[in-house]
Amino acid sequence: MRHIISLLVENESGALSRIAGLFSARGYNIESLTVATTQDPTLSRMTIVTAGSDKIIEQITKQLHKLIDVVKLQDLTEGNFIEREMMFVKIRAEGETKRSEIQRLSNIFRARIIDVTDSTFCVELTGSGDKLNAYIKTLQDSDVIEIVRSGSMGITRGEKALTL
């Protein structure tokens, strides 16, 4: 089963390598990992998307907890949550038909064109991983020059929050 684990970690230089090292040393799967600071400059927020049986997920959360740099942890998949990922796609866009086709599709997906040249568009799109995949599917492989995805981030719905 796919799980999204949110972490508050000490904003220290070694923290990321400790967490990444834990996953590689114990052979756990990482689908994506994102990290950035929070409103509290001493803390970073990390979102890890992983997969495994209940037993493995239990071990992953326990082992993460054990790391001294991990302050708090929450498995978002245990409750109601929102998940989003952001993507940039640089697309070959030559000729009027192609350019308007890409614009039309982007509108459907609520994607924004954020950079334009004579021959390319750069599109920004936010949504679930599935939505991002669906958008990519509408494009011809040969038109896709570059894709940059942020990896998932998540947050719980409602009052509940991962804070100190």
Binding site: E10, G14, G21, H65, I68
Partner: protein, 583 residues
């Protein structure tokens, strides 16, 4: 007090109550060594190899319960220390390793003797710190000791760039008495409801079994374990790491379990209906095939580390907390409970266990003209009155020591159980002797293992550490040879120890006494002689039977009731049927 970084380190160690540190100098720690030179409170022991420093500090920690402290230089100093750090990590031993680092401004430039000690040590430390500000030095040291010694203990490394320890930069120092980490709060008390459930299950058991591990020793809970075990009247077995927590000679103790555990302990594991695991982690050398582990039992597990619970074996009643505290709470409930263990069932259970015990699974051939390794350990036990601190290396000799030297006290049996580090025994014995100069300290080793840290014989002389080395010299990497005999049709690939040194002369050249013994008839006298030299290191080189194997043995994939038993055991008792009972 205005102190330099180096002086802060030394003053801090003193304030923290550290009496001994084990180390080896080099460029990156020279400022620190200079500060050490200017005082007498913290005694530094110069080892001959950084691996020796870590094992010595480790032995010191295992024997005393206090953290072992190590000081090494950057680069090769730090990498040499890694084996000992990993050894301590696997057995949850409190240790603080201070490593020098190249000056802050040069980090990352491939400077002379630069290695990323934080990165290299990361997978085998409980935590590590790079100190990049002298103002944080004292508090970081405090954090290191705090993390190393609390919760599930473990080694902590502090990497200190040379500029932080420079003599001309002084700041005001005050010993940080307390420290708290918002991200680290080890659980102490067990959940009362869980403890109550555990008590109920224990009292309902018909064929109970207590299985205790190194956590009881680390958590100083031997007394509590004894009280609970005696109150219940249940059989108890211990892991290799747990020996001594419950008296080895007590009649409720049915010996070690696992790969080379006793017949009775392993059979009882297989047959029990309630298993009470205390400070043990269901290691693969204990469980064998996990799908066949304790097939009839409900399991209770006390551990300080939540990650140890249901890691390999699912348990029915987990209790996270300090063993000492949990056992104290449990004892109270059991004592006050109107219900008592089912005496009739217990009597039947003991009758079965006694019948397994009568098979005498550790019996060996007493008629051999070669010295049997088992008899050496028996002689050691006799001569030391069972009171010695015994360290060991890794191999057959380690298993024989565990089987034939019943420890009645915790912290007396000191071996590398988790990592299985050859080379551990001698430096660990030095550490123990440093802590307890009056106690008998024996290192049971093999001719293979002893050569991995033999250089420490020199340290023993310099610091007057008269340990006794009992070398079970079978001219083989015996444990490897045993596996090759069993699983590789006797193809003894590279397990013969050729070109061995003359250990007697070697000991003598290091300034010690060497004794060789080959005839079983001379063994006892040689052992007595070795221990008669109170103030000298004695290297007793015992030429033992090359063909002896360690029995019983649970082979890979087998269940606890499917042990390979010794030829003597077989001959005396006929063959064992698939259920493990005698036919």
């Amino acid at each position: 007090m205005e102190l330099s970084g180096s002086e802060i380190i030394v003053q801090f160690l003193k304030d923290e109550g550290v009496e001994h540190i084990f180390g080896y100098p080099g460029g990156a720690v020279l400022h620190i060594y200079d500060a050490i030179h200017r005082q007498d409170d913290v005694k530094h022991i110069l080892v001959r190899h950084e691996q020796g420093a870590t094992h010595a500090a480790d032995g010191y920690a295992r024997a005393t319960g206090k953290p072992g402290v190590v000081l090494v230089t950057s680069g090769p100093g730090a990498t040499n220390a890694i084996t000992g750090i990993a050894t301590a990590y696997m057995d949850s031993i409190p240790m603080v390793v201070i490593s020098g680092q190249v000056p802050s401004g040069m980090i990352g430039s491939d400077a002379f003797q630069e290695v990323d000690a934080i990165g290299v040590s990361r997978p085998c430390v409980k935590h590590n710190f790079l100190v990049n500000d002298i103002n944080k030095l004292a508090i970081t040291l405090k954090k290191a000791f705090y993390v190393a010694t609390t919760g599930r203990p473990g080694p902590v490394l502090i990497d200190i760039p040379k500029d932080i320890t420079a003599p001309h930069i002084k700041i005001s120092y005050e010993y940080p008495k307390q420290v708290s980490l918002r991200s680290y709060n080890p659980t102490v008390k067990g959940h009362p409801k869980q403890i109550k459930r555990a008590a109920e299950l224990l009292l309902s058991a018909k064929r109970p079994m207590i299985y205790s591990g190194g956590g009881v020793i680390l958590g100083n809970a031997s007394e509590e374990l004894r009280k609970v075990t005696r109150l219940l009247g249940f059989p108890i077995t211990q892991t290799l790491m747990g020996l001594g927590a419950y008296p080895g000679t007590d009649k409720q103790n049915i010996g070690m379990l696992g790969m080379h555990g006793t017949y009775e302990a392993n059979m009882a594991m297989h047959e029990c209906d309630v298993l009470f695991a205390i400070g043990a982690r269901f290691d693969d050398r204990i469980t064998g095939d996990t799908s066949k582990f304790c097939p009839k039992a409900k399991i209770i597990h006390i551990d300080i580390d939540p990650a140890s619970i249901s890691k390999t074996i699912n348990v029915d009643i987990p209790i996270v907390g300090e063993v000492k505290q949990v056992l104290t709470d449990l004892y109270q409930i059991l004592e006050q409970s109107a219900e008592k263990p089912d005496q009739k069932a217990l009597k039947n259970w003991w009758t079965r266990i006694n019948s397994w015990q009568q098979q005498d699974c550790l019996a060996y051939d007493h008629t051999s003209k070669h010295i049997k390794p088992q008899s050496v350990i028996e002689a050691l036990y006799e001569v030391t009155g069972g009171n010695a601190y015994v360290t060991s290396d890794v191999g057959q000799h380690q298993m024989f020591a565990a089987q034939f030297y019943p420890f009645d006290e915790p912290r007396r049996w000191i071996n590398s159980g988790g990592l299985g580090t050859m080379g551990f025994g001698l430096p660990a014995a030095m550490g123990v002797k440093m802590a307890f100069p009056q106690a008998e300290v024996a290192c049971v080793t093999g001719e293979g293992s002893i050569q991995m840290c033999i250089q420490e014989l020199s340290t023993c002389l310099q610091y007057d550490l008269p340990v006794k080395i009992i070398n079970l010299n079978n001219r083989y990497l015996g444990m490897v040879r045993q596996w090759q005999e069993f699983f590789y049709e006797k193809r003894y690939s590279h397990s013969y120890m050729d070109a061995l040194p003359d250990f007697v002369k070697l000991a003598e050249s290091y300034g010690h006494i060497g004794i060789r013994v080959e005839d079983p008839a001379d063994l006892k006298a040689a052992m007595q002689e070795a221990f008669s030299h109170k103030d000298r290191v004695v290297f007793l080189d015992v030429i033992t039977d090359q063909t002896e194997n360690v029995y019983p043995m649970i082979q890979a994939g087998a269940a606890h009731n499917q042990m390979e038993i010794s030829p003597v055991h077989k001959k005396r008792l006929g063959s064992i049927n698939p259920e493990g009972e005698l036919s």
